[in-house]
Symmetry: C2
Subunit: 434 residues, 2 copies
């Protein structure tokens, strides 16, 4: 049995539950909505990721004897609250943007319909997963778009929390990355893992040549040899000498990559290694990738900037109560009043408005009703959980595969300005229909 | 049994292992060092965190049948490599800066002494944990220093990966935070957890007064009431009406907090609630906390900016081979040559040079030898693992408690400029002694 996810929850979710159980309001039917008031500064779109992981985590959201014992030990929670939690299985409905979908400010990314009690206690877990994974996917998308047809390799595990690393690899592949260095992500989500050697491997040996020979002996000539430990030109010559014309690739991890890739290509060609690729790494982000577009590069290895969201390490998604029953069982739209944190009350429905060529022109969000679409418009909310039952194809390796396909289709539908890395407005407006 | 951490590892660590096993160099005694070439831009010190978590993760770094089966399925690893991994238990020595200690550029934060094979495969896990946790602790330190004697409450779980959230709470408490909202961090590390209610709880009820009554009924008058769902002044009046003079605190989560805290204090006092505190939240960072120093605030709740490292979501720590045996069993210092990524070869020793008043004046790092200290100097490297055996008091709740104490002592020793939030140089220089 996988570990429980139930305590990955803010203390106040459970004190709210307790107070609402006491007042009786806990059982009111409620609608919570996840949305972002804005994209990170200057971004033109965001990418939803984490949905599949969230559904997996929801399955494991149970308060077993150890979780209950911990809560009891705090001396805060009464018997009614602990009894509720002991029996808790989410039994409501969840709708959401399918994973891989582009999103915009005020897109209703996830909608949770259940009693207040059931929806309230999911808040922290829902936001943790969606905020993190969407931040990574949104950054990854800019990188893979900048890379065009050249593959991007995710190698940022060492720059983020060891479990966030697994989720980051998954989110990166959804947003177009070809592979990851992270073995756990490979196991958990069926991702392709890659990697060859670091500088320490060369330094371990008595010479660069000895290191290259050792690597080729076990990984074959098709491997990538890291050539910048000592002198790049000599490194390339040694690599070709050791591996021959079948050398898979060289890797450059320092210096001016544009210039180096240029003369490395010429040198490789002059040595008869026209088919040997050039992999570049070294603090790449979407701007560095774009700057390398005209350089003869085969693949990009991206680490730090990917797993830190390239300047936006979290999305600013929030989880708000937007509608609930009153004591007469009638639905009431609700929203708080703070001027600096505007929320729009009411159950939302969303579609992407498409023109006759299939290009998106607006995110249409109906407040309290389904917006009227024409035949080109595409509904965005899919049902992810029905009466507590999770839609299976959204999870695991299959979920990632589908999300990566969906990502490609969703971006292909956006106005071409989505490819711009310069700061600007979202490529389509969000239109709220009352 | 806790889950294995062994696959939280980059693919290339294991292909390097395989190639080094093939060449025979895998068994050479080696020294790897963790250090940061620089602090985040403008920071004056960093704080080491993650050490205790790393030691726990090291205990669980084993390749069980499932991990081996996954590696076999990749078709990359040979029998010798899989055999090595199947039997793997780290058997070397690890020295490091104790958790909670301040660090500077080129401080030798962790030193791993073992065969190349054993040290190589730990790289990803070591860096993931130290880079993440130190980034959070380093940001948290600036916040708690700015807050002075007022408590900081960690509430950022929803803005980061759900497991990173637990580690972030732990790192925050090491760096002076008083409590966290994260229940799992509370369970795992004995941290105090706190929290009361969100806007959704008020919106759930038919009136703010009904919500406050429900909360006070179950949490007592000493609770914190969130007063900015509708109108702050009315919210405060209602809170006092419901909870009386014993109301623990009000919470403000929007608007101009400096101004609001001022008149909220006057209003509370005028209503006879002199002892009621004012907790502020809403995108606080160290600068906002400093700006609130003269406002009548009781406690700060910090979320997003804490868990994202306040602009520096990762430390830039690297794990480099600095020395190894040659074929004659003699030690050789090693370092790569890239001009833009300088490393200094050789086993390091470190002490903090203190003046006669006990104030730090330099980080002295001996390269290949112990620097000569005088009686005031304080050695910085402690042994964390001896022949594979982990020093127990560095882990678990006890590890956090000791690290938090050490953090206070370590900062008290720094030149007073460490309290400045403006950009500047590290408060002490790092002196490398050849």
């Amino acid at each position: 049995m996988r570990p429980s996810t139930a305590l990955k929850t803010d203390h106040y979710e459970l004190t709210m539950l307790q107070a609402a159980l006491r007042s009786g309001a806990a059982h009111r039917r409620s609608v919570f909505e996840v949305f972002a008031r804005r994209l990170p500064a200057g971004r033109r779109y965001g990418v939803v990721a984490g949905t599949g992981r969230l559904l997996e985590a929801l399955e494991d959201f149970r308060f077993g004897p150890e979780e209950i014992a911990h809560l009891e030990s705090l001396g805060v929670f009464d018997a009614a609250t602990l009894d509720f939690l002991r029996d808790f299985r989410f039994s409501g409905d969840i709708y959401g943007y399918a994973e891989g979908e582009a999103y915009f400010p005020n897109s209703p990314i996830l909608i949770v319909e259940s009693t207040f009690a059931e929806a309230c206690i999911l808040e922290t877990l829902v936001l943790s997963i969606l905020n993190h994974d969407s931040a990574i996917a949104s950054a990854a998308a800019r990188m893979t778009v900048a890379a065009g047809t050249r593959p991007c390799i995710e190698m940022g595990s060492r720059r983020t929390h060891e479990d966030a690393a697994v989720a980051a690899a998954r989110a990166a592949v959804i947003a177009g990355f070809a592979s990851t260095s992270n073995l756990e992500a490979g196991r958990d989500y069926g991702l392709k893992t890659t990697g060859t050697a670091a500088h320490s491997f060369t330094l371990l040996h008595d010479s660069e040549e000895a290191a290259f020979r050792a690597q080729v002996a076990t990984l074959g000539a098709g491997t990538s040899l890291l050539v910048d430990t000592y002198d790049v030109e000599q490194g390339i010559r040694t690599a070709v000498k050791v591996a021959g014309p079948e050398l898979g690739a060289i890797r450059l991890d320092s210096g001016d990559l544009v210039t180096q890739a240029g003369w490395a290509r010429e040198l490789l060609d002059s040595l008869g290694n026209e088919r040997t690729g050039i992999v570049v790494t070294s603090d790449l982000d979407e701007y560095a990738i774009a700057a390398l577009a005209s350089a003869p590069v085969t693949a990009y290895g991206v680490g730090t900037k990917l797993v830190t969201g390239s300047g936006a390490p979290t999305s600013s998604m929030v989880y708000k109560l937007v509608a609930r029953e009153n004591e007469d069982g009638e639905w009431v739209s609700v929203a708080k009043k703070a001027k600096d944190k505007v929320s729009v009350g009411g159950r939302k429905y969303a579609l992407r408005r498409l023109d006759e060529r299939g290009i998106a022109t607006a995110e249409v969000v109906g407040v309290g009703h389904r917006p009227e679409g024409d035949h080109n418009d595409r509904p965005l909310l899919t049902q992810l959980v029905t009466g507590g039952e999770i839609v299976r194809e959204a999870t695991g390796a299959e979920g990632v595969r589908r999300a990566a396909e969906r990502f490609r289709r969703s971006l292909a539908e956006l106005p071409v300005a989505y490819t711009r890395l310069t700061e600007g407005e979202p490529v389509i407006p969000t239109v709220l229909e009352d």
